[in-house]
Amino acid sequence: MSSLPLRVATDVGGTFTDLVAITEQSDGMKIITAKVDTTPPDFDKGVLNVLEAGGVAAQQIDFLVHGTTVVINALTERKGVTVGLITTEGFRDTLEIARGNRPDFFNLHYEKPLPFVPRSLRTEVPGRMTYKGEERTPLDLSELPSIIKQFRHNGVQAVAISLLHAYANTQHEEAVLAGVKKLWPEVSVVASHQITREWREYERTSTTVLSAYVQPVAASYLSQLNDSLVSQGLASSPYIMQSNCGVDSLSATSQIPITMVESGPASGFWGAAELGKMINEPDILALDIGGTTAKCSLIEGGEVRIMTDYWIERSRKSAGYPIMVPVVDLVEIGNGGGSIAWVDDFGKLHVGPRSAGAVPGPAAYGKGGLNATTTDANLWLGRINPDYFCGGALQADMDAAKSALQAIGNKLGVSVDEAARGIIRIANNNMVNALKLVSLNRGHDTRDFTLLAFGGGGPMHAVALAQELQVKKVVIPTAASVFSAWGMMMSDLRRDYFVTHLADLVEGAASRIEDVFREVEQNARNTFVAEGVDEARISFLRYGKFRYQNQEHTTEVALSGTVTDTALSEIAESFRTAYEREYTYRLDAPVEMVGVHLVARAEVGKLQMVPSKLGDTDASAAVKGTRGVDFALDGKHLATIFDGDKLTPGMAFDGPAVVEDSGSTLVVHPQNNLSVDAYRNIHIRLGAES
């Protein structure tokens, strides 16, 4: 092991804890990966185990990023704490009324999601702000002591404060916050303005309540992790991966942990953006296929899109719960390697969203799973090597796979082969539709984009999806199955601030808009500096959210430099252009600003990847053999099988082929042309025309 400083990312998932470590050695950079079982409830043990498995000593680590599913798990498993809510008089039921929608609208037995705080623990204080942030009625805290008494009596462990129009003026919330801290210093308490400054009281209240709900759980997880690592010799606290593709300090995350809610997918998409910049592919469709789900996101000009329209448990069947924090814009569908294929009462084939999980897993695991999964179909068609299943850790039970596929075939009245092909085609179609949601549906032409696929299942399906979408080309990053952890190491300290601010874009509006940006920037800068971040490393990106007057939904536009009255018409024009691309038309109507979005970043000594020299194109040294592979729509072919670990920069070859490494299988269709770049990423050109 090198004595040079190590950069390390650890990622705690539901089943496995992953490690990626990078060390710079005399002969270039080396990537170390390791995987161990996750160890609930003492997750820090799994982290120490994975460091040990990778041969990484804590005191060697220069920079550690940690990703965890602790927040989303606490939410979905309802393992948070009892929360008490303090809100504006007349609005204690906001959390239960929600928005009133019935997504499953023909279902008369629809069940509205239950509120996280029962009515008896939802309390009110008099006092009102207006939407302009002016005080309409003074705050009255005379009942606060009895509210706190009642909370204590009822076992409340965390207090959430959410008052009407607190996005426009935080004073009342600050006063309630101070009052609670004074009366009950040891309780966990959070006010809505500490998390978001955007309007919509239900969404903001839900966000605040859910943050309070997970705060004690997340704080104890993080402090236990920190203590454990520090006792092993880690020099500085780990950074924590966030849903906005940035990392944040452990102490800030402990206060407002809800920002971690979608950190898992975020790191992969950030990695995709960063890798894109490295290899000069700024426009990317990023696809992450795991065991249970596939997630995708669009990256344009090297920038991920961050939004605050995030919901958990929302589907065609349920309204779900909103969490108004910055989350990378993504679409997720229940379609992964373990997704179960099934035939409905009318002979129609479906794949997912139910998954066979790790136990019993796909039928071919031989652990008693009777359902055919996408993985079983891939095995049957020769796309996955049965003798190198799960990186050789498992011998595929092909009899079990066959009988599971046979059951599907019997229901459809087709052969096992056709059933397997059907499963692959349906699964691919589900993923194509998800990719269209983030691209075509938003006015982007997929032909301008490169598909970057990762996760255990990404390389398997990437080419088929790319052909359907006619993307420019496909890139498979090196160590694709642990690419998300790599993405974490590329992250900066990043905080996204969204503030609702209504303004007509007319003469004289600029100075007030500029004031809002400056105030938020100053606030962001002060917070970073107070945490010990060098001021020189802090940078800002400004975005405005605009709409035509009277509209509701906004389009975000990047702003450069100081906002001046002369710049307003340019800003309005860039809004009109962005709007027209997405929605096909422009209007004469006046343009209105609805809010600002400020990205505050501080580099934390980001990893610089070093390219290797390109060698010979001859890839014969990596050939393992040949086998028959069924490429579904592209027919059956004898494919050359390559050992992914032996591919070196510069190698190139044509499909049909399969590239196998311990974490994933890449299927290269006939007429595809593959080459390995200086960072060991695989580039695939699709066919004759490219």
Binding site: E89, G90, F91, D93, E96, I97, A98, G100, N101, R102, P103, D104, F105, F106, N107, L108, H109, E111, K112, P118, R119, S120, Y131, L164, H165, Y167, W199, R200, E201, Y202, E203, R316, D345, F346, G347, K348, L349, L412, G422, R425, I426, N429, N430, N433, K436, L437, N441, L502, Y548, Q549, N550, Q551, E552, H553, E582, Y583, T584, Y585, L587, A589
Partner: protein, 547 residues
């Protein structure tokens, strides 16, 4: 390309995705809050003959509208339908189905110079002219008073907008900017859908594309028939008194192959605007039918093939031109609930107890005190839903007429409309108790900030309350209160153009859902919970639950 089932399935999924995309595009670009927030809109894709193949999300009451509009356009225009045309209609006797506020836009989709399908949408526009702001008035006695009638005309000819038509439409609106923005949102939506369908037909071939639509509809029919066979057979009848003293009647005959809704024995059409077209009545029957037989699979033309609706021309459920139909939705929700109630005692496993069952359409307008601009609130309200065996009903969701519809946040309403929302909370008035309780309705207080405002509202289930099942207690009822600045109170269920002034409070009160089962059998822990949460007083719990 082959016609294999997987390919057909993939095309069907893609058609559904296109309908969803049309919906999303329209939602994001609309100008009226009733479209973008309330989502009083729908999108759909039909085959070349105008049979519905797929619908976007939105409200169930709009699912069955668009096929009827497209079929009317096909009949009217025959050969004169060109690529790039966009048609517009809003008149129930010219393919419009609902009321004049709802503009339907439809665009034919071509492949190799043949029509392969249609993309259409419908949305409630804020003002299309007529005698009252917002175009809806309880005083209307004929459709001419309810706005500009568009009898299915071309708005765009071969990609060129007919500015004359556009000018006539906008000139007839009190809110021309909103209308123009909303119409362009609708045009963008049908164009996006058309582009997706063209790509699909181009990729898979027109034959395969058409075959996918065909099999999808056949699948809908099979699903419907298979479920129909599981329902109890026979003829069921219900007479139900209404708030206004009239009586409605329905007879439903269920056999293995048919579901016949007979509404012929009903009162003559109303002199005012609470009438619906026959098409509107058919849609309500479709909604109950779909919920009853299979709420899960997507609705298309095939889903409704076993259903027949009988109406009498000149009745409230089959109004004749030129009857006023502005408040058609309240008549529709009544016939919807009538069919539901008629069958519920016979099929309790599929049909819960009655819900607040009114759109509770609320229209408030005036001048925004901060911007000086006109504002108009047009919104349906939330209310309680009925209980069923084993579960309490849902509190505060939209009626069966609406679906993926969102209420307006108080913070946004105060900024946009320049009034105060003093409270928005659950209505804990007695009612709806049972072994399983109905869900709670809403109390919403709007405090007016300027002079010269107005209120129009139409609430039913005010007198005749939501109906219970198996010995439960009926719901609490829907009503509007106006609390004048001087403290005096007035109650309304239907009110039109009532003057409002500074510091008047409009209090919207919606009903709880009805209870299911004997309230005395309610689990004591559940009752204690209700008391702790302030949903019921200890005294009322003693009375109804013997607690």
């Amino acid at each position: 390309m082959s016609n294999d089932p997987i390919t057909l399935e993939i095309i069907q999924n893609s058609i559904q995705a296109a309908a969803d995309e049309m919906f999303a595009a329209m939602r994001k670009t609309a100008m009226s809050s009733i479209i973008y927030e309330v989502l009083d809109m729908g999108t759909g894709i039909t085959d070349a003959e105008g049979r519905i193949a797929s619908s976007g999300a939105g409200i169930p009451a709009f699912i069955g509208v668009l096929d009827k509009s497209v079929q009317f356009i096909i009949t009217k225009f025959g050969e004169d339908i060109q690529q790039g045309d966009v048609f517009i209609t809003n008149d129930p006797w010219h393919g419009g189905v609902t009321h004049l506020n709802d503009l339907v836009l439809a665009m034919p989709v071509f492949s190799d110079e043949h029509i392969i399908g249609w993309c259409a949408n419908i949305a409630h526009n804020s003002d299309v002219g007529g005698m009252a702001p917002g175009s809806l008035s309880g005083e209307a006695t004929e459709i001419f008073q309810e706005g500009l009638r568009l009898p299915a005309v071309k708005l765009i000819r071969e990609n060129i907008t007919d500015q004359s038509v556009m000018d006539i439409i906008t000139c007839n609106s009190r809110m021309p900017d909103f209308l123009l923005g909303d119409v362009w949102a609708a045009i963008a939506s049908v164009r996006i859908g058309a582009k997706r369908l063209e790509d699909l037909a181009g990729k898979y071939g027109v034959r395969t594309f058409e075959s996918a639509m065909e099999t999808f509809m056949d699948f809908g029919e099979q699903t419907a028939k298979a479920q129909l066979a599981k329902l109890p057979q026979g003829t069921f009848e219900l007479n139900e008194p209404q708030d206004d003293g009239r009586q409605y009647n329905v007879k439903i005959t269920i056999s293995n192959t048919e579901f016949i809704v007979d509404l012929r024995d009903n009162p003559d059409e109303d002199a005012g605007p609470t009438n619906t077209s026959r098409d509107g009545t058919i849609i309500c029957s479709q909604m109950v039918f779909k919920s009853l037989i299979d709420s899960d699979s997507p609705a298309n033309d095939g889903s409704f093939r076993p259903m027949k609706v009988l109406t009498r021309e000149g009745s409230v459920f089959h109004a004749r031109e030129p009857a006023a139909i502005g408040f058609y939705f309240e008549t529709e929700v009544r016939v919807y609930d009538l069919i539901w109630r008629c069958l519920a005692p016979h099929i309790p496993a599929r049909l819960p107890a009655g819900h607040f069952s009114s759109i509770c359409g609320t229209f408030i307008g005036g001048i925004h005190p901060d911007t000086g601009r006109q504002y108009t609130i047009i919104e349906p309200q939330l209310g309680g839903w009925g209980a069923w065996e084993g579960r309490d009903g849902n509190p505060c969701i939209f009626s069966g007429f609406h679906g993926e519809t969102y209420n307006t946040p108080a913070e946004i309403s105060e900024a946009r409309n320049g009034l105060y929302v003093d409270r928005m909370e659950l209505n804990t008035a007695p009612g709806g108790e049972g072994e399983f309780n109905g869900g709670r309705g809403l109390i919403l207080d709007y405090r007016i900030r300027t002079e010269n405002g107005f209120l129009t509202a139409g609430f039913t289930r005010s007198v005749v309350k939501p109906w219970s099942l198996q010995g439960g207690i009926e719901g609490s009822g829907n009503i509007v209160e106006v609390i004048k600045a001087d403290g005096s109170k007035e109650h309304y269920s239907f009110v039109s153009g009532l003057s409002l002034t500074t510091d008047d409070v409009v209090r919207i009160i919606t009903s709880s859902g009805a209870g299911y089962g004997d309230p005395k059998k309610r689990n004591t822990e559940a009752v204690q919970n209700d008391i702790d949460n302030g949903f019921i007083t200890a005294r009322r719990a003693r009375e109804v639950h013997s607690f």
